[in-house]
Amino acid sequence: MDVIEVAGLGKTYPGGTEALKDVSFRVAKGEVFCLLGRNGAGKTTLLRVLATQLRPTAGRATVFGQEVVGGAKAIRQRIAVLPQEARPQMMLSAFDHVRLMCLIRGMSRADAARRTEQVLRQFDLWEHKDKLCADLSGGLRQRVLLCMALIADPDLLFLDEPTIGLDPMGRRQVWAAVRRLTETGVTVLLTTHYMDEAEKLANRLAIIEKGRLTFLGTVDEAKAKAGVGMRLIVEAPGGNGNSREVLHPSSNEEILRVVERAIREGLKVTFQPPSLEEAFIHIVGGSIDDEAS
């Protein structure tokens, strides 16, 4: 059974803003599903509806087979959320945050202490455990918040831009944690602005633009849909970039011809694989063009 099933989902806020329109998709168990989109596209609204924090106004959404409105109580037993722009309490330590969250979620004092140590060690926060959050860097604070979400051993984890503000090492730690979780069958739904993050983590992704689903599929499918292929950059060795030639070969034979020419003429060839960012810009840009025409 799919963990998440969304059919014709819509959300219009009380003020009249239509944030989601006819969104449909499914997420399987153990999948990392990324929601991509520009600011205000509707990613967070969609995540909040699925995390039972916001009521939908049209369509249907189920999580673990339960309706997000009628079955919220059952869903909440099995999920955890790291909200966008969440902040820790500056006068509480990393240890306080995680331990209090364990206690709030019903663990005994002994279990809470054990689980807190386990999670803080997993995210290299143990050495900072007694520091107040006011004295931690932005990246470490973000990790504290992530630890708070992970203490519950959720079956489905919602991460709303989880690596924002993290340094490259911190981001990789989060990615590693997400991968470890999915290996144990946890499903992860995350929103991100970082295309490399989606590329590294997502089994499948959805691109949302102005509340509508404009793409649903794998990273490779996104690149294929956008027609983004391998790029070859041919230039003189040690050149200043003025004589740079960017080629878009359409076949292996064409690539071979370019490489042979480069060898013959002593040129440097750089292979630039297609990026998700280009595909994203093509897809989102396309949807804007569609709307304009």
Binding site: T52, R76, V81, Q84, A86, P88, Q89, M91, L92, L103
Partner: protein
Amino acid sequence: MTRLREAWYIGLWDSLPLLRDPMILILLSLVSFLPVFFLFIFMGAEQALPALVGAVVLSLAFVGMGVAQSVYFNKHWFRFQDVLVASPVSPLSYAFGLALSTLIAASPALALSFVILLLSKPVGLLAFLAVIAVSLLMWLAMVFIGYVIGLTTKNTRRANSIPQVLGFLLGFLPPVYYPLSMLPGFLQPVAMLVPSTHAAQLAKYYFGMIPLSSAEILIGWAYMAGFVALMAALTLRKARWVDP
């Protein structure tokens, strides 16, 4: 029991930062007790003692209204409410926990003021319990007002300023620190519309500082209870666990 435990730890989550910052606790205590100090200096102990009773009632009211900031900041700043909505935690535990946190934060100042008051003016256990009850009713009313402010405010500055302005209107203007009889006759019925007037009158009565008739006592309790019920209804109308 589970829900009480949840509420206790949510209260601790919200109040621990305050408890770790003694300056804030001192400030919280000073706000309501400062007028008592000036009354003591300029008017003597005779006038300061009734004001001290008023200060005890008001210190609870002030911290009760502080829930507005907790509600606002936990929803819009820390996003802690969103974290808890997507968990098995009950909304009632959350609401009760935030209210409890105001009591936890106020407890050092309250304990000290009650000790001073009882040493200066010893009363029987029943009278003492009645003062506690009227203080708690006042606190509860202010907690509900705080909830309404916190739930309806979407602006950080207002979340800070509205409770302070209301605290001034409900605390310093009505006859809490000074006797009701000092107000001009035409203003006395207006003052009786303010719940803190009733709370202070009842507390002063139970400490044997002013006389009240049975009817006045009954009206005082009924008014306090009615005001709490009204504010509770308003809070229930505004409160949202899941956003609409």
